[in-house]
């Protein structure tokens, strides 16, 4: 028995039908063989390939692992749900060791050699910034689910599609909380990586807009472990609020530095690190009271978020961080775009991405003409009693912020 591309099944027993004469048998055999050739070969069954490199090892490994899990879960789910236009989906994940150059070579290989159909961006704004020119050069839309530096969208690239809110708006909710709680003396410490810088600068901007005051605005070297001097300085300059702009490491290191000097400002904000379970895992009780920005929380009740959360826990044995949610959302967006364009043609899919207004598990998706996400919203969380509480926005908060 053979199945052709139209799903028709031929039983070769028919060829032994006794009522047919020899000539008719031959004719029937001829047409039957023809129909066999009409079958689309195995290419129809080839999966749609999507390449992504992640710093599975190295400094971004924690967030990268989360992203990978999110991608893979989506790969699994989308393939189960008839894939992309009926084709299975294969997400090829490579480890770039958190190295921009390696990432570039991996992506080059994806494009030139493996000729993948689509690309997901790597983790971190630093590495994404390195990869973007390559994607741009080859007209490959790059779904960015692991980078949020505003600068990624300021260079006029036409293939950088942000899945979530860029860094410029990360601190908006936290600053609102400061205003409402009359805390206006702020020290900002930021790492010298693109994401951290953009985050810090936008924070500075918003501080002014909220009518708050910056006591100190200090840059630190990326990867620096000992942040005690800056902790001390913050204590001494009379700041009520300490805002650290960086990744997980900066969040953990500053938390630990504050522990060292045994001082806590009235409010301590540590960017995106606190949104991950790993933060608490690394900081333990010191994580208590730390504010952070989360790009996704299952408690936000966006469509599919709860299912994703449950599936993720079921699959990986722990609750997903927002990075996993972002990765999964990137997959959702891609599927939606392919469905809308009815094609896997990169140009058509890109056009669909730029004009889409859809919901994912991380909220609403919609980009401006530069590809920058403008419809998704962030959350402010605070670790309270070993639990990540949603304290902003007001309408969906799970706990009142504590200072």
């Amino acid at each position: 028995m053979v199945m052709n591309s139209f799903g028709l099944v031929f039983d070769f027993q028919i060829l032994r039908f006794p009522a047919l004469s020899g000539l008719w048998k031959r004719i029937l055999l001829f047409f039957s063989m023809g129909l066999l050739f009409l079958q689309t070969p195995c290419s129809a069954q080839d999966p749609v390939t999507i390449g992504v490199s992640l710093g599975l090892t190295g400094r971004f490994s924690v967030m990268a692992e989360e992203l990978k899990n999110g991608f893979k879960l989506w790969e699994q789910n989308v393939s189960t749900e008839n894939g992309l236009l009926g084709r299975p989906v294969r997400v090829i994940v490579r480890d770039d060791k958190s190295d921009p150059e390696l990432a570039v070579s991996i992506y080059r290989e994806f494009i030139k050699k493996e000729q993948v159909d689509f690309l997901f961006a790597p983790y971190s704004s630093l590495i994404t910034a390195a990869v973007l020119p390559l994607a741009e050069e080859n007209g490959m839309p790059l779904l960015i689910a692991g980078a949020a530096a505003d600068r990624l969208w300021e260079k006029g690239y036409r293939n950088a599609i942000g899945v979530y809110t860029p860094a410029g708006k990360f601190t908006l909710g936290f600053l609102e909380l400061l205003v409402l709680n009359e805390l206006d003396q702020i020290t900002v410490i930021y790492a010298d990586d693109p994401f951290s810088i953009d985050l810090a600068e936008s924070t500075q901007k918003w501080i002014r807009r909220f009518g708050l005051n910056i006591i100190e605005f200090q840059k630190i070297e990326k990867g620096r472990m000992d942040l005690e001097p800056w902790a001390v300085k913050t204590r001494e300059n009379g700041s009520q609020v300490l805002m650290v702009c960086g990744h997980m490491n900066e969040a953990v290191n500053m938390t630990m530095a504050l522990k060292q000097i045994k001082w806590r400002p009235k409010a301590f904000y540590a960017s995106v690190g606190p949104a991950l379970q790993g933060f608490y895992d690394r900081c333990g009780p010191e994580a208590e009271g730390v504010f952070g920005t989360s790009l996704w929380e299952p408690t936000a009740n966006y469509p599919g978020a709860r299912e994703f959360n449950e599936q993720f826990i079921a699959t990986y044995g722990h609750a997903p961080g927002y990075h996993a949610g972002l990765a999964y959302a990137a997959g959702q967006v891609l599927k939606k775009a392919v469905d809308e364009s009815g094609s896997i043609d990169k140009k058509q899919v890109r056009e669909a991405l730029f004009h889409m207004d859809t919901m994912t598990i991380i909220g609403r998706f919609g980009v401006d003409k530069k590809g920058k996400q403008v419809r998704q919203h962030t959350f402010i969380i605070q670790w309270r009693n070993g639990k990540k509480e949603l304290v902003w926005p007001d309408q969906i908060k799970t706990a009142e912020p504590e200072f």
């Binding site: 708006k169 609102e176 807009r209």
Partner: protein, 780 residues
């Protein structure tokens, strides 16, 4: 190649204006469209900025309204958060619209600045524009600036938009024009190449062939091939025509007369493929004569009769028939014989636009081109010039012959005069003495009869001498009113003696004819010449010579035909029954030296002289002839009604003197003797001398004793006129009668002016002498 030639070349003439026009249009459109696009962009940006301003104001307004409706207007913190959120929205909006935005709050300074770098901000602050919207330039870029206030929050919002959003459009327009320009240039290059390949080169090939005198043979593009073939055909045609022109030129410079006409006819026939007849019109005979022909296998003789020569002559225009010519002119054998379809009769004009001939072309059907007509006209002109040339040559030759003849005649006249003088001197005494004897001897005696015969012989001898003098034109010529009959009679008498007796002279001289103004001698010559010609026409075979004279009345029509005035004429007819004159020769008979007689028999001057004399007398002459039947000449003399002075008294009785004393002088003694006897018989006293000088002396001694002087003219020592002059000096009233045998130096008028009263030609008869003496004496 000179610049001038280059400028005149086809590609330059054709394409420079096109390139210039396209260039100008292109430039004009380029700037016009660019300007339009630029203005459009400006307007769009301006509108866009205005729209964004409105939108941002609405954002502010909406958020402010939210704050108001939340009931937390008095909550500072809520207000701060709301403002911050609003700022974020404004920034996002500015980013989405790619517009620079700056927001300041009174008392708080700058709260938002997007896409406005510090320099630009300073510029805006420094030049802060009071206008709501304005345009300015900063660092080479154009910006639009619009600002407004949102007073509820004390915000001042400025929006800055540069034109870079429309730069791609303008760049695209420029690119489109550049591409269009390039395409235009490429197109022009292509056109030039095509033109070079398909126009200039073929044309150059044709022109080069023409410049080198070769026939172009271009094959290819239809139009150029058509041009080439036409030029080729034209050149062939020109060569052909040049050949004929050269041929005619050669004929013109190397031939004269008959050869010339024949060759012209031949050339024209060859050129046009038609038969040619060149006819010359003879005005005197009112007829056409064949001058030359070509294309015919034999001389056409009278075949050209029936051609419309008279019509051409009258209308002075060409007659051209291109088909059915033989039917059009059925009486023209030359056309009907060959069934000619085409006929062209072209008048040949002289310089005075008088038709002097015709060029006749005929043959198969042919349509004449302008070139054909030009060629024919040229040939006609050539023929006309040759006709005129020949006429002049003939006149010139005639004059020369006339001169020679005149000289010859003068010599003969001189001789004849001398002979006549001597002969008269001999004859005079014979005649005189015979008359004396006739008076003396009774009439019924045999001697008287013989004397009478002597007398008649003497008279005839005298007349003969007179004829000799007339012939040699030594006879004096003067027109007088006279009767023609006596002269004609006298001439006929003379002719009778000179023509064979086989010719019978029939006279019909009407005596009632009026007088005419004529000269007797010339009338005599007319009769003599016409009669002599008539006699020659009859010659040995004999015949009738009929001479008649009658007076006729000529009305307008006849007179016009003969180029005479209507009126009465005395018509002299001289007709013979001789051989007659051919029709084609009849027009030539009055030409000087035209003769059909054998050499030595005629000078060809006879009829010419007659024609001249008749003209002098305001008369006219007509010739009618029919070969084999004879010829008739009619000479018309206008009747003269005026009376001529005193009429000669003719009586049979001699007028006798009354004893008057006459001095008689003649160098001939016999004449003196005879005259002396005659005068004495007539009743005069005579004192005679043979020497004029002696006579003069005698007269001078007693001039008053003489009543009259009769003197001879030619005398040794002193001529008669000188003698007369001397005598008249002595006695001016003395009547003098001059007698001479011949005088070429004295006319009657001259003698009369000198005082000589009379003149007599010797030999004269007694009666004539008596009459003259009587007249002279009476003239006192």
């Amino acid at each position: 190649m000179s610049v001038k030639r280059i400028l005149k070349s086809l590609p330059i003439r054709m394409f420079i204006p096109v390139i210039m026009a396209l260039g100008l249009v292109g430039l004009g459109m380029y700037f016009f469209v660019l300007k339009s696009v630029s203005e459009f962009a400006d307007e769009q940006i301006k509108e866009s900025v205005a729209d964004i301003s409105g939108e941002i104001y609405d954002i502010c307004d909406e958020n402010f309204l939210d704050l108001m409706q939340s009931g937390k207007m008095d909550d500072r913190k809520t207000g701060v958060v709301k403002k911050a959120v609003t700022l974020g929205i404004i920034e996002e909006y500015a980013r989405q619209n790619d517009i620079g935005c700056r927001l300041t709050e009174t008392g708080r300074g700058e709260l938002l600045r997007y896409q406005i770098d510090p320099d630009l901000r300073e510029f805006i602050e420094a030049h802060h524009l009071k206008e709501i919207s304005s345009r300015f330039q900063f660092k080479g870029r154009k910006y639009y600036f619009q600002h407004f206030d949102f007073n509820p929050w004390g915000w001042h919002i400025g929006l800055v938009k540069d034109t870079k959003a429309y730069a791609p459009l303008i760049e695209r327009v420029k690119l489109a024009y550049s591409v269009t320009g390039m395409l235009l240039v490429l197109g022009l290059v292509l056109i030039l190449l095509v033109q070079e390949r398909f126009l200039r080169k073929p044309l150059a090939r044709i022109i080069t062939a023409m410049q080198t005198g070769q026939v172009p043979d271009y094959k290819g593009i239809y139009e150029l091939e058509f041009l080439s073939d036409n030029i080729s055909e034209m050149m062939h045609s020109l060569e052909e025509r040049n050949k004929w022109v050269e041929s005619l030129y050669l004929i013109a410079i190397t031939n004269r007369g008959k050869d010339f006409f024949q060759l012209v006819a031949q050339a024209l026939s060859d050129a046009l493929g038609l038969n040619i007849l060149v006819l010359r019109y003879n005005q005197a005979g009112n007829s056409f004569h064949l001058t030359a022909f070509s294309g015919l296998d034999h001389e056409p003789y009278e075949d050209f009769a029936g051609l419309p020569g008279a019509q051409i002559l009258a209308e002075k225009r060409s007659i051209i028939v291109t088909s059915g010519a033989c039917l059009e002119f059925p009486l023209a054998p030359c056309l009907t014989r060959i069934n000619a379809q085409t006929y062209a009769g072209i008048p040949v004009f002289d310089r005075g636009e008088v038709v002097i001939g015709t060029m006749n072309l005929f043959g198969e059907e042919k349509h004449f081109t302008q070139w054909d007509l030009n060629l024919i006209q040229t040939a006609c002109r050539m023929v006309a010039v040759e006709f005129e040339y020949l006429a002049k040559e003939k006149d010139k030759a005639g004059l020369e012959v006339q001169l020679q003849q005149a000289q010859k005649m003068e010599a003969i006249g001189t001789l004849a005069g001398g002979i006549a003088h001597d002969f008269n001197n001999i004859l005079f005494p014979v005649l005189g003495h015979t008359e004396i004897l006739l008076e003396d001897i009774p009439e019924d005696t045999p001697i008287h009869d013989r004397l009478k015969k002597i007398y008649k012989g003497s008279i005839r001898a005298r007349d003969l001498v007179k004829q000799i003098l007339t012939f040699s034109r030594q006879e004096r010529f003067e027109l007088k009113t006279m009767q023609l009959q006596p002269v004609i009679h006298e001439a006929l008498k003379f002719i009778r003696s000179t023509i064979p007796t086989t010719i019978d002279i029939v006279q019909d001289i009407r005596e009632n004819c009026s007088s005419v103004r004529a000269d007797a001698t010339q009338i005599h010559q007319i009769v003599m010449n016409l009669a002599t010609n008539a006699a020659h026409a009859m010659d040995n075979a004999g015949g009738k010579l009929k001479v008649s004279l009658e007076e006729i009345r000529m009305d307008g029509g006849d007179a016009t035909h003969l180029d005479m005035k209507p009126g009465s004429y005395v018509c002299l007819r001289v007709a013979d029954t001789g051989t007659g004159i051919d029709k084609e020769l009849i027009g030539k008979i009055f030409d000087p030296f035209f003769t059909t007689k054998a050499k030595g028999k005629g000078t060809g001057m006879g009829l010419s002289v007659v024609h001249g004399i008749v003209d002098q007398m305001n008369g006219s002459i007509q010739a009618f002839s029919e070969p084999g039947r004879g010829t008739e000449f009619k000479v018309y003399f206008p009747v003269e009604h005026r009376a001529e002075g005193k009429e000669m008294i003719q009586t049979g009785k001699l007028i006798r003197g009354r004893g008057e004393k006459i001095l008689l002088i003649d160098d001939e003694a016999d004449i003196v003797s005879m005259e002396e006897q005659v005068l004495e018989r007539l009743g005069y006293q005579v004192v005679a001398f043979t020497e004029s000088t002696k006579a003069l002396k005698a007269f001078c001694k007693t001039p008053d004793t003489f009543d009259m002087i009769i003197t001879d003219m030619a005398m040794p020592g002193m001529s008669g006129d000188r003698l007369a002059a001397e005598c008249l000096k002595k006695r001016p009233d003395i009547p003098i009668l001059l007698c001479t045998g011949f005088s070429d130096s004295l006319t009657e008028e001259k003698m009369l002016s000198q005082g000589i009263r009379g003149f007599l030609s010797k030999p004269m008869g007694m009666g004539e002498l008596a009459q003259k003496i009587h007249e002279v004496l009476d003239s006192e």
